[in-house]
């Protein structure tokens, strides 16, 4: 029920909806830098700002799939660069497991990705978002783990 829907227009082509969790200090800053550098990338990834990738509860990821996200990205500072010293090391451990668990559940691994993107890696942010959007476009809408509407 996108608000800009115009009933007179034909149904729009399906576009993937990707929820991204981005740490405030690195990935969110990297995304801002991509903007400052006027890099272009598809609009499908929308970022939820969290203080640290370590704040991203795996349950948020499940919730996103449940509510209809086609893919989820968790991104933060490179290990060693965490603003909070160690948060992303825990993220790394937790999501190494979570990624495998989701795959075990039958979710295509491309639908859940974790990436380290620093505040200076605007090109990497652009590339990750672009590549992920393309991959999910090819995969089509996610039906798995999704609640019945």
């Amino acid at each position: 029920m996108s608000a800009v829907d115009n009933p007179k227009q034909p149904a729009k082509e399906w576009e993937p909806n990707i929820v991204g969790f981005a740490c405030n200090w690195c990935t969110y800053a990297g995304a801002d830098l991509a903007g400052l550098s006027r890099m272009q990338y598809p609009p499908n990834v929308k970022l939820v700002r969290v203080p640290c990738s370590g704040r991203t509860n795996p349950q948020f990821v499940l919730r996103a799939f449940q509510k209809g996200a086609d893919a989820v990205l968790v991104a933060g500072c490179h290990p060693g660069d965490c603003h909070y010293a160690t948060g992303n090391y825990f993220t790394r451990r937790r999501y190494l497991l979570m990624q495998r668990m989701l795959e075990f559940m039958g979710i295509d691994p491309r639908r859940f990705q974790a990436r380290w993107i620093s505040g200076s890696e605007a090109p990497k942010f652009r590339d990750v978002v672009t590549q992920m959007t393309e991959e999910i476009k090819a995969l089509g809408p996610n039906r798995k783990l999704r609640e019945e509407i």
Partner: protein, 660 residues
Amino acid sequence: MKRIGVFVCHCGSNIANTVHCEKVAQVAKDFPGVVLSTDYKYMCSEPGQVMIQEAIREHNLDGYVVAACSPRMHEPTFRKCAARAGMNPYMVEQVNIREQCSWVHANKEKGTEKSIDLLRMGVAKVVKNEPLYSTTIPVTKRSLVIGGGIAGIQAALDIANAGYPVTLLDREHTIGGRMAQVDKTFPTLDCSACILTPKMVEAAQHPNIELMTYAEVEAVDGFVGNFDVTIRKKARYVDFDQCTGCGACTEKCPKKVPSEFEMELGMRKAIYTPFPQAVPNKPIIDAKHCRYLLDGKCGICKKVCPTGAVDYEQKDELIVERFGAIVVATGFEQFDISAYEEYGAGKIPDVITGLHLERLMNASGPTAGKIKRPSDGKVPEKIVFVKCVGSRDEAKGRPYCSKACCMYVAKHATLLKEKMPNSKSYIFYMDVRTPGKNYEEFYARTQNEYDAQYIRGRVSKIFQVGDKLIVRGEDSLLGRPVEIEADLVVLAAGMDPRGDAKDLARTLGISYDQHGWFTEAHPKLQPVETHTAGIYLAGACQGPKDIPDSVAQASAAAVKAAGLLSKPELTSEAMTALCDEAICSGCGLCQSICPYKSIEIKSINERYHGQMRQRRVSNVNQGLCQGCGACTVACPSGAMNLKGFTNDQILAEVDALCQR
């Protein structure tokens, strides 16, 4: 339901060009809780802020969302704006439709659509915002300076002169650091000791400075304003209260050891002071070499000591002290040249480093200032300098420029010519970098007046034939290989981070780069701060530096530290973790994950079925917590939450993004 306002910013044409701002504001009117939605050209401008403040009063808003640039840019602005209108500043959310929308998407329809999605997310979150308040914490008005080189001494003096007590800690048994080893300083050629030793003495005698040498930091707890630092005071085996520094012990000690201070060009004793002007000027026993401590034989020093100060039973001592601020000034190590096998480095005795030459030139050094080569004591005539050894060399893992070598080589060439007019220096360089006051002029004089031959090219091989050293390079300006038969080769070894710098960084909770240099909070705008509040950097521990730069940075760090200590109290982070004691089962999973050690388990008493009982729960120290939220994820029951980024808020954001 809370009453929410929505303000969509055009940012001139920055946003409006690729987002239909009016349309976005229009659509937002239908979002749950929104009682007012409007757009404006520049929300951050004075009229924009006035408009928001009027709306807050007029519509009795509980909170608002501004869709504009990145919150990393203007969140403080809009929070203050709310506060001026009497609204709690944490009732504001900012949605990023510029950096992460209008600037990165060309299609206006898609940009508009994404803006609406992001705004829906912001509204869903702000509905669940609660007013937040900072608390205050007291500041311990003392500072710790780690490292007693020129940077540490300068920082300590500046903080002490600002009126705050300082503990100046050095792992070695004297302060002075690298500069004490240097003979003369560029570009003025004043004697290093002449300008350094007065400062060392001043630091030792300053009423606000406590000197703690032969000591190392073991652990750091606490946070800005109140660091609890565990310090290991290493056993010196000499009671400094009794020792008069008469030197009888050193004189009689039978054990000779290569002197670290003299770059192993000279010897010292097992009970020793590293150099005559050491501060404190009292000897310690080197336990690794002392005959008595190794196998119980000897004991001469104890016998000759007139005051009975020698104490073989002394043990390391651990103390814990509290400091409000910490300045890190641990300096550098000279690059280990033995990685350059092609130069015979570490194998050929007459292939030496800059620091070796400093000691050979120094009047109180092992040769009393006569330049004699280490192998046979011969006075060299042809001296070759090779620059960028362990600098600008990716293959050796050192891509960075060590910054001081160009100048110290010019200084060496000048001094050698002064000392030995018949000598000739040949200097292989790639570039000559002289960006400092009077540096270029000095370099010019080295060539014009002191006859140094500069050859552009990196040396490829150095080997020994008879008592000559053959140095092969390319004169890249000629485009021809060249060869020099030298008597002495000085490798301008670059600067390395301290071998254990990474360990100290982890202890302090500060970050470091891939080489081990400590990382400043911002390369331009926060060059002496670290990412950890209350910890500052001075000198070469942050990256290669010469003396003037180190001293300047030390004073800057001192100002930062003194500024912190001058505050009556500190405002703590408002967005901190909070434990719901009703749910918490006290399992402690959150505790091990907290990087700030801000979670403690406490016992609470509660009434249960008419009886009082005790129960363990987690308790977050609001002064220490920095709001990373790692604990919230470790908590399976959801008892731990992060104010400003609660589970509820994030779930609402996720739901809003997925609801399309």
